[in-house]
């Protein structure tokens, strides 16, 4: 019993000492953290436009506030080769960390990434998770989302930051900066852009006796229109050279098909009223063209629900169609993904650059009107910064401005010419700045990239190594140079919060037309009814024009 009492006493003393030490340590830590929190610390750094100076000042301010690690997340999506949409941010953080290290600033940025095949699902997740504080700090996504994200207050207005970064802003092509605006304010930094050429199979055309010489010029000048392409497709089908005359992407990729509206002289947005436009005549012509192709077996009736990897790409790369409405990035995707069935081995494999060059001719999207020039459509991707960027980091309420500035500077760094140029060279998207476009022409730099001698974060290099090996070559560099002219003929889809709703109606109606469930006129009237049935949409859309009575195709 005595033994038990003595032991309890000792144990009691030990426990008391432990408690006292723990309380003292806790109190010390609390006082220190309070000092840091209430002391004269910097919670905002005026930006100067000198990147190095600004990033050092922000780093010092964070350090002064006791921050050692800043955690940011970046989300994006797209084709498998466009991973620089996330690794661009990883690389930018790596470069900033190095600057801080060189200046003895003990702060580090850590980036977590998420990349999926469908950018729309990234947008969906972003809005679903924003209120929960689980949306990413930075997102690379289509500029069309800027309108809805900005109107909901989900993304940061970058205008105040960019006012101090005018020389940075001036590097970008002005049309792209315009695309980043919503109600006069800039909400995104261009990440990439592209053109949507029509690819024509050279071998299929040759088989049907079609001469491709000068076709691009004819389309550019409006001498070769959709009527001519239809006749070509028919000839291909009749001569048995390919089962299909035209293949395009599926329902979720309706921006490609919006080109038809512009090709027939229609418009989608009225600058004066700020309203969307539903042009009945142009949409009727678009649907009629596609229906005519489908009715003659030149385009599949269930085109809008084809599978990307199992149907669309294999049909195109195996030469089972004359034409394909695609994008510049497909030129590169076909070189990295095993869509092609090798006739010798029967195995699926990617095409080589030489094969892609041999098989595919590319040109602008033809006009629907004789004499009207061809066109293309761009949907630039934008870096967008969460209006709650940095929320997962310590002391957010107090250091919010610093975290936002840091997120902005990370995006500025991710716009370094070499990061943009690498993205273009491995994904087939067009560079968004003049300096990046110049860099792509620099043979020494391209050679360094190809031989992997370029200085990059080892994590980034490791992740894009295999894509670089497959895609960086003179043929692709030349391709990028050759398609750049298309940007002079580019069009955009409108930035309006209600536009995605209208666009999904186009896709629904077209699907019904292709499946022969509606005539083009019924489909146009169906869209009108759907617009009128939704009060929000009705208030946002002007319905113009009439279904043409005497217009025929081809």
């Amino acid at each position: 019993m005595r033994y038990y009492t003595a032991l309890s006493k000792t144990a009691g003393i030990v426990i008391a000492i432990i408690i006292i030490i723990a309380v003292a340590a806790g109190a010390y830590y609390y006082i220190q953290s309070q000092k840091a929190a209430t002391g004269k610390t910097v919670t905002f750094v005026p930006l100067t436009g000198d990147f190095n100076k600004d990033i050092i000042n922000v780093g010092k301010a964070l350090e002064q506030n006791g921050i050692k690690t800043v955690q940011f997340s970046v989300w994006s999506g797209g084709d498998p080769n466009s991973v620089m949409r996330i690794y661009g941010i990883v690389e930018a953080a790596y470069r900033i960390n190095n600057i801080w290290k060189q200046n003895n600033i003990n702060v580090e940025i850590k980036i977590t990434t998420r990349y999926v095949s469908n950018p729309n699902s990234v947008y969906e997740d972003y809005i679903n998770k924003w209120s929960l504080g689980q949306a990413p700090d930075i997102m690379a996504n289509g500029y069309t989302y800027i309108a809805s994200l900005a109107s909901e207050g989900y993304i940061l207005d970058l205008t105040p930051y960019l006012n101090n970064y005018t020389s940075f802003l001036n590097q970008f092509y002005p049309t792209l900066i315009e695309a980043m605006k919503w109600k006069g304010k800039i909400y995104g930094i261009p990440q990439d852009t592209e053109a949507r050429p029509i690819y024509i199979r050279r071998d299929v055309a040759a088989c049907a006796g079609l001469d491709l010489a000068g076709l691009a010029e004819k389309i550019k000048d409006g001498q070769f229109t959709w009527s001519d392409l239809y006749k070509w497709a028919l000839k291909v089908k009749e001569s048995g050279c390919a089962p299909w005359g035209l293949i395009h992407r599926k329902g979720s990729a309706h921006p490609d098909l919006i080109q038809f509206i512009y090709a027939f002289g229609g418009k989608l947005y009225d600058e004066k009223t700020g309203k969307l436009v539903f042009d009945k005549a142009a949409v009727y012509k678009w649907f009629t063209v596609e229906k005519t192709f489908a009715d003659h077996g030149l385009l599949p009736h269930d085109m809008m629900s084809w599978d990307w990897a199992k149907q669309i790409h294999p049909t195109v790369v195996d030469g089972k169609t004359l034409a394909f409405i695609g994008g510049t990035w497909h030129w590169f995707e076909w070189q990295t993904k095993a869509y092609y069935t090798d006739p010798k081995t029967g195995q699926q494999r990617p095409l080589t650059a030489e094969e892609v060059h041999k098989f595919f001719y590319y040109t602008l999207f033809p006009s629907g009107i004789k004499g009207k020039h061809g066109l293309t459509l761009s949907q630039p991707f934008a870096w967008m910064i969460n209006s709650k960027a940095g929320e997962q980091n310590p002391n957010y309420d107090k250091l919010k401005d610093l975290y936002h500035e840091l997120a902005f500077l990370v995006v500025v760094k991710a716009s370094d010419p070499d990061i943009i140029a690498i993205h273009s060279l491995i994904s087939g998207h067009l560079p968004v700045t003049k300096t990046a476009a110049e860099l792509i022409k620099n043979k020494t730099w391209v050679e360094e990239l190809k031989s992997l001698k370029i200085k990059l974060d080892p994590v980034v290099l490791n992740n894009i190594k295999s894509i670089i090996e497959k895609t960086v070559n003179p043929i692709n560099v030349q391709f990028l140079a050759n398609v750049t002219y298309m940007l002079e003929y580019t069009t955009f889809t409108p930035k309006h919060p209600q536009y995605p709703k209208l666009a999904s109606l186009f896709a629904e109606a077209l699907d019904q037309v292709l499946r022969d469930k509606m005539t083009p006129a019924q489909a146009v009237n169906f869209i009108v009814e759907k617009i009128n049935a939704d009060p929000d949409l009705k208030n946002s859309v002007e319905i113009v024009g009439e279904i043409p009575q005497n217009w025929t195709f081809p």
Binding site: S131, S148, E152, S305, P500, K501, S504, R515, A533, D534
Partner: protein
């Protein structure tokens, strides 16, 4: 007086053993049923969209979402097919579920134990199979191209020469047939289990006595089994009807994969889901209003079903003069 009577009744109930006994269930009902319904009703009076809770949750728009719903019902050409589809889907699938379940339970009652277990297990497979896998099986079975199992069988037999796009080209019965078939198979097993369990509780003496008197299987079914299963038939019918009114998981996949027509294959519950989760603009206020109306319709239908099937009589206390 009536008010104080009600309060004293509630007070009495709270202090009773029954309350303690029912407390866990009451907590579950409040947390998982009543609060979500209250939240949905609240949401239906807000302009909540795109999950922007912080911005819209304190804005009040009155009955605007309900007005928008009725406006869409009367103006949108794709909404009417959805409501017709919902009615047809519920009526036919309910018949399949209840009659199928009842038929299976009775059939297995007359089988040997081994055959009965095997048959019941077979019919339980659709319910045991994960939704995506189960839907995938029927997706390939009804696929509109030559790779579809049904098409390839019919083509091999020479009945058809071109594949038929069942869910897209035969409107509206094609998509209806598919969604009813797929959901019907899942629902049958539920009725089968309830009825089998109920039949096993029927005193064997009744059946044996009937057999001794020379009754056939049909006579036993008509005069003994079905009358004694009346309570269970009411329960399964009401339960399944309400389940079908709110089900959308299998249908969502079949519509999403393009197997069935988007309008003639979508039910009211799926329409609400799409409005809130998959539409270009997540119109949550409108979806909540549509959901509230669905709950009201469900409640009315449930009460109506119980009334028609004489639920009151079944729960009436015995007169005590037996």
């Amino acid at each position: 007086m009536a008010k104080s009577n009600l309060f004293s009744k509630i007070k009495g109930f709270i202090h009773s053993d029954a309350f303690i006994f029912l407390l866990p269930a009451i907590i579950l009902i409040v947390v998982f049923y009543l609060i979500p319904i209250a939240v949905s009703v609240y949401m239906s009076f807000t302009p909540l969209r795109n999950w922007n809770i912080q911005r819209y949750i304190h804005e009040f728009v009155g009955f605007e979402n309900y007005w928008r719903f009725f406006y869409m019902v009367t103006h949108d050409p794709t909404v009417q097919p959805i409501f017709i589809t919902t009615v047809v889907f519920i009526v036919i699938t309910l018949m399949v579920n209840v009659l199928g379940g009842l038929g299976l339970a009775i059939a297995t009652f007359f089988m040997g134990e081994r055959e009965a277990s095997g048959t019941q297990l077979l019919w339980l497979l659709p319910r045991m199979t994960p939704i995506a896998v189960y839907s995938m099986i029927w997706y390939y079975f009804f696929h509109g191209s030559a790779i579809g199992t049904l098409n390839s069988i019919l083509m091999a037999l020479g009945i058809i020469h071109q594949p038929i796009d069942w869910g897209q080209s035969i409107i509206p019965w094609g998509p209806w047939m598919i969604i009813i078939f797929v959901n019907g198979l899942v629902g049958v097993s539920y009725g089968m289990i309830v009825f089998t369990s109920a039949i096993s509780n029927i005193p064997k003496e009744l059946v044996i006595a009937a057999r001794v008197d020379g009754a056939s299987n049909w006579n036993i079914t008509k005069n003994i089994l079905i009358p004694l299963l009346k309570w269970h038939i009411v329960y399964v019918t009401t339960w399944q009807m309400l389940s079908l009114l709110t089900t959308y998981d299998h249908i969502f996949l079949l519509v999403e994969w393009g197997l069935v027509n988007r309008y003639w294959g979508t039910t009211w519950a799926l329409y609400i889901y799409n409005m809130a989760f998959t539409a270009a603009e997540k119109d949550l206020g409108l979806a909540a209003a549509t959901g509230v109306i669905l709950v009201i319709v469900g409640a009315v239908l449930g009460l109506l079903a119980l009334k028609i099937m004489g639920f009151d009589k079944m729960v009436k206390e015995p007169r005590g003069d037996i």
